[in-house]
Symmetry: C2
Subunit: 522 residues, 2 copies
């Protein structure tokens, strides 16, 4: 019996014992809501991060403008140690300086196109014929030897556009949220298995797929193909994907960005409808002339990568060495201004800090904001930051400094409001977050799921055993339109959603900073 | 009692008496279905009308290529008298020869833009600042005097983009079709009232709105504004509309096209997201530089407008002078290749003729196909054709030649399959079409509604008292994406739907040609 009771006590996660102390501070929440809803600056912040700065491809001038703006804004608000902190050698900056593509014969038609990042230009306006390649494996390239000089290359596609019977924008239904909340912890030993509920939405592309080298059927890689195209004197290679449609184009990277990397072959993504038109013309043997003028610029003056860091210093002598960290990534892809990926998250995190600072909160723990660089190339800013500051190299778990980190909160699933939080299978934190979320039920945020979610910077903390969390957000048009596309623009931001997220995060951060204990580890 | 019975007989429309003779020829329908579904050429025809020809703005080179293709194809199939028939002086052809717009400072961003048709170019690549005009009435222009030289003009907008919670594509539900079928005839004297069921979909733009001169608040017309812009030496005026989003831009005409008309001021429609970015930059007083290079070409070698006409001659000596006419409009707007508006209708009507010719049908009446020019400028091709051939000038009703027209069938509501037919309040024809539709219930076409529908060429026949009908078609993406936009492209065509439509129309045409009587008039 005693043994049984002892066993029971051992099984109860520490969070349960703490939960009675986690009653939310309703007076503070009232103030946060008033500031966050009635005096919001989140859309101003979003404007300066997006349209005023430009595309924020890592290490590009747009990224630097946004980083400088952010650092200055944080200083202006009175945060401590606002700085651009290098996270190690990263690579070349790159920006688009000109992009014009059109079909000029047999008649004129503008083409919507974007070069992949870190690709070379065309050395001015070129006119070129089109060659449609139909390739199984490397041996099929032989047939095209001597035929590609000065040409633009297409690869034959066999897909087609289906009518869009599903809406581009959606919010989670109550039923979906209930399903998420029911999700049970996986067995011990399966902790690395990612939850797959299908609720993340179709077509979700993780941050890690940018550099994939898709194998052609038969094993020819895209890199081999581009090598062949270069050797043959081709002008550029074009591609597309039916995920982008109606003028929306999804575009990522076109190869290596390291300081020592060779320039990547010109490689453009076209609107699906334009690409397929060129393919059909080629299949019908109707001669086509393209006009193509792409100018790109590489920046090699500073190959370091940077995160933007600032703090509200803790006021409790016993706890001020401990950290509550909030973050989002500052870098973006380049075909638009990265509004939902992830100026939205940055603006919300900045706004949360502004709210707390405006309310003159004196937190017990130090609250740190970290806006990461290099997320789109593999969470590089946060990974390196966590490695440099918090990781025991031998064990790859958190070190003594890392032990001072109570929790990390991340926001990076678009513009959608917060519907709850993913626990990353950390059951012990469930009763804590349940109490903290309760005051926001009226704002639609009430779901706590044990599910893991992936694809962004909380994983860097989670990887060394620190509590790192991403909120559940409504998808809105993230998967269908904005995520890594030319439509990731300011007009696709939802002001009401961003205000809600800033209010909830300011409250979570405040409560994490005031809590007697750190957030329990898994 | 007798009187009552007599009254009853008088009240029964002639169609009811005929209905017993309108049993469909199931053997012929079987052949039509086999040819239309198993040997369809409808997508080949659509390709040649769209991507092989180019945009088919009336009297443009693209229109002429499509007209020539069509005429030759009809001749090749063995139809009689395939010809381009002039319908009177129409005006200038116009085509786009170059369109490049980008923001080049404070950073580079390509802009999706199209000039309105019949507008002038920019005389090469220009760089220009942007001026945002906020204008109530003409007196407000004073404030901008001397400030617009070499500038690009924006007009302040106060709308915003809402998330797209409704799908772009849709088909009629059974409930909607049932509602349409229930629709009752309006009172006598209200026959000109257009049915407004809301089922046509939001945002439907009639063929007649191209030339509207929207009044600015306070009464300043767009024409006055352009006049002021020209006098002040402005480079161009830009506009947008939130109906176009995600890279889709809806673009129509930018002024007069008459042979004697002056050149219209450069006038471009931008993607909503791009336009609003420029507006926000201007509102924040962030200096912006635009690169803009628009080249347009006017064609004045032949100011006549043309319809394409051909026939399968009737074989019944008594009836061969009578006509069953099918049509669709060949012209389009210019920002894409007019695939759903209305290459779809043309390809279906051509395919219907091909099916009948392939089956070596010997119709009793003559079957005529008419592909109209100038529809987008006000049904001009069909109106003039009907006026020249079938109209009594004094009464504005059909004349003796018009009396030989049994019926006109039109298809011009996009790529969607046929779900039934609008009777244009001609109750007498209901039992006839009910019999003719019955064999196509399995293809989703079974709804007959007394409703009128507008916006296209059957109105030209209806206007003089001849039976002219447009089929009920699923909307698919017509209102949301394709109708008068840069996305009216081949990939948005639905092959299965076009095959279905061709089969049903071939059958309707056949039965109309074989029927003992002409289709009853209203």
């Amino acid at each position: 019996m005693k043994t049984f009771i002892l066993g029971l006590l051992i099984c109860i996660p520490p969070g349960h014992l703490q939960a009675q102390h986690d009653e939310p501070d309703l007076n503070m929440i009232k103030k946060i809501r008033q500031e966050g809803f009635n005096h919001s600056q989140v859309m101003d912040l979003a404007f300066f991060l997006t349209e005023a700065s430009g595309p924020r491809l890592n290490n590009s001038p747009g990224f630097r403008r946004a980083a400088d703006f952010t650092k200055n804004k944080l200083s202006e608000w009175g945060l401590s140690n606002a700085r651009l902190e290098p996270f190690g050698e990263w690579g070349k900056g790159w920006e688009l300086k000109r992009c014009y593509v059109a079909m000029s014969a047999p008649y004129y038609k503008p083409v919507i196109a974007f070069p992949k990042s870190w690709t070379a230009g065309t050395n001015g306006l070129q006119t070129a014929g089109v060659v449609l390649l139909s390739i199984g494996d490397a041996s099929d390239l032989e047939a095209y030897k001597g035929k590609l000089n000065g040409k633009v290359i297409l690869l034959r596609r066999i897909d087609s556009l289906e009518p869009a019977y599903e809406a581009d924008a959606r919010r989670y239904s109550n039923e979906e949220l209930k399903e998420m909340a029911k999700w049970k912890n996986v067995e011990a030993g399966e902790l690395n298995k990612t939850a797959n509920t299908g609720l993340q939405g179709k077509g979700y592309t993780s941050a890690h797929d940018h550099n994939e080298k898709p194998k052609r059927p038969g094993g020819l890689s895209y890199t081999q193909l581009k090598q062949f195209a270069r050797e043959e004197g081709a002008l550029a290679i074009l591609s597309t994907n039916p995920r982008g449609r109606d003028g929306t184009v999804f575009v990522q990277g076109g190869g290596a960005w390291a300081g020592s990397a060779a320039e990547n072959f010109p490689d453009l993504v076209l609107a699906y409808e334009d690409y397929m038109m060129l393919q059909r013309m080629a299949q019908r043997r109707i001669p086509v002339t393209l006009e193509i003028d792409v100018k790109t610029q590489f920046h090699t003056d500073d190959l370091q990568g940077y995160n933007v860091i600032a703090e509200i210093k803790g006021a409790d002598p016993k706890l001020k060495q401990e950290l509550v960290i909030i973050g989002a990534h500052l870098d973006s892809w380049h075909a638009s201004v990265g509004a939902t990926d992830n100026a939205a998250g940055c603006a919300v995190m900045l706004e949360a800090m502004r709210i707390l600072k405006t309310l003159n909160v004196q937190p017990r723990r130090t609250i740190r904001i970290a806006l990461w660089g290099g997320e789109e190339q593999g969470l590089l800013g946060s990974k390196n930051y966590v490695r440099q500051h918090f990781t025991d190299t031998a064990t790859q778990r958190y070190n003594a400094a890392g032990d001072k980190v109570s929790v990390y909160f991340n926001l990076d699933n678009g513009t959608g409001k917060i519907r709850g939080i993913y626990l990353q299978e950390n059951a012990a934190v469930q009763p804590v977050f349940a109490k903290w979320l309760q005051p926001f039920t009226d704002l639609g945020a009430s779901t706590i799921t044990l599910q893991r979610t992936g694809g962004t910077d909380h994983l860097s903390f989670d990887a060394i055993g620190l509590p790192g969390f991403q909120f559940i957000q409504d998808d809105i048009e993230y998967d269908s339109r904005t995520h890594h596309s030319n439509m990731d623009s300011y007009d696709h931001l939802q002001p009401g959603d961003l205000k809600q997220a800033a209010v909830i995060i300011a409250s979570f951060v405040y409560h994490a900073a005031q809590r007697n204990e750190k957030i329990p580890r898994k």
